[in-house]
């Protein structure tokens, strides 16, 4: 009850934070997809490079989020950029790993047929490899997005804005309705992304191989 009360009273502020949070996630995941997919493609051409890159991404992901923010702070200062960069780094692993394995695990015979037909590397990539790896890549993007929605809350701590602000302020003012409102909206974003991305992933599966 108190939560709904709180939300109705502070509606415009909560919605502003909600959109700030969405913006943070969309920009971070957008950049991570661009960087991650390209990186994932590049490392399919070199085994050792692939191992190296995947290990680095793995290590990045194990750094606690508070520590990651602290490490980036001296370089990019307080605010949106630092928070967003941290989220990009976190979401790299699932995207890079899934792009890489999605392409590597395509049936060799299919690639060989494409090469034998006279397709050049670019055509093979765009017409064969990426379309076939797309469902797997989408699954990686989905994992990354859902994960980063939660971590995004912590980014508020260093002034990146977003719903985390409700939680941190709620803690310091011992205002439970504020904390709960923040938590609920973060869950809504996470579940929303999960459903939408999951649905499009299934659509990709249907259009084609099955």
């Amino acid at each position: 009850m108190e939560v709904i009360d709180y939300f109705i009273r502070r509606q415009s502020m909560v919605m502003e934070l909600f959109w700030e949070h969405m913006y943070l996630i969309v920009v971070a995941v957008g950049i991570a997809v661009a960087v991650g997919v390209i990186l994932g493609i590049i490392i399919t051409y070199n085994r050792t490079l692939a191992q190296g890159v995947l290990i680095v991404c793995q290590v990045l992901m194990t750094i606690p989020s508070i520590a990651m923010l602290g490490l980036l702070l001296p370089f990019f200062g307080i605010g949106f950029t630092t928070g967003m960069l941290a989220l990009v780094l976190y979401s790299l692993l699932p995207i890079v790993r899934n792009t890489h394995s999605g392409i590597i695990e395509i049936d060799k015979a299919i690639i060989e047929a494409a090469t034998g037909m006279g397709m050049n590397e670019w055509r093979k990539l765009t017409r064969i490899k990426l379309p076939l790896a797309l469902p797997v890549i989408m699954a990686g993007i989905r994992t990354a997005t859902v994960m980063v929605v939660g971590i995004g809350a912590i980014a508020s701590y260093i002034g990146a804005g977003g719903l985390g602000q409700l939680i941190f302020n709620g803690i310091s003012r011992t205002n439970p309705p504020m904390i709960i409102t923040g938590a609920i909206f973060i869950s809504i974003i996470a579940v929303g992304f999960d459903l939408i991305l999951g649905w499009s992933e299934r659509r990709l599966h249907v259009a084609g191989r099955d």
Binding site: I110, E112, A113, R123, G208
Partner: protein
Amino acid sequence: MIRLENLTKQFPGMDRLAVNKLNLEVGKGEVCVLVGPSGCGKTTTMKMINRLCEPTDGKIYVDGQDTSKMNPIKLRLDIGYVIQQIGLFPHMTINDNVATVPKEKKWPKEKIKKRTAELLELVGLDPREHGGRYPSGLSGGQQQRVGIARALAADPPIMLMDEPFAAVDRITRSRLQNEFLRLQRELNKTIIFVTHDIDEAIKMGDRIAVLREGKLIQYDEPGKILSEPAGDFVANLVGRNRSIKRLHLIRAHEILEEEHWGVPLDTPREEIKERIEESVISTVMVIDEKGYLKGIIGRRAIEEKEGEKAEDLMEEVPDNVTDDATLNDALSVMLEIGEGYVPVVDADGLFRGTLTLNTLLDQVRSDKSAK
């Protein structure tokens, strides 16, 4: 057209050579069949020709040009390749699969569409029924046909076919083989055809290259391979019943006889009776005025059935073969329908004559006595 000179391939980490100093020449319009046991280097040889795999040593000339100095993409666009594992693109429709090379060659859309439909018909698929489907919606044999259509799409002068008929049952295979030979007479392509089935090699090849552990053991015409196998390996591969294998080499139209026990639709009962008595197969074929085979009348039919004319007495034709079928195909059909004969029709379905078991036996015998 294609010349292999001392072609050698060693895969890293393998002490044996996958292909060992292979010398081979395939003339324009010729079908060269590579045959040999699993792992003897057939696929590797093919892949070196379209440069999916670089030779360790030796040279390959296509049309007199050293392929190692050619642009591999360009080379491949002019060599149709049917890979052993079929390798259709699962995310593309059958139409799009077949259109792969024409699209690479940037043909206009209309031309691609026309060509795709034409090719699907050529390999015995219905463009309207199958064209829009995905490969997973087709049987193994149908997928294999799509693989062949895809390789033929841009009408390449050279075709590399790696066990193209492996995924189909025996009967479909023999039909596809005959189709292929008929096509080849029209298209006149230079073909390297891989199989590990010696019967298929004998039937399909103008010349057969027998490989063993990467080495060329014998390169000869099918007849020569049968009559003068070079050593025990080839003799074993060919097997003991070589005379029967010769049935693969002779086509129905080559030995069809004058006498074919055909009668018109309005032949009266008495005359049919006489003809059946004369016929060595105790059967007559009923032919209409245009020359199509309409039915057969055997001894039983004439005894049991009422009616005064051939058209009232005749029964359905159990099966027939086309005149370009091999004697071996004819033999299979006879065994299947359980009769000592099979009617022969031409490509348009016109009646050409009848093959009997006796004629086949005579062929096998004359071959034996000739040796």
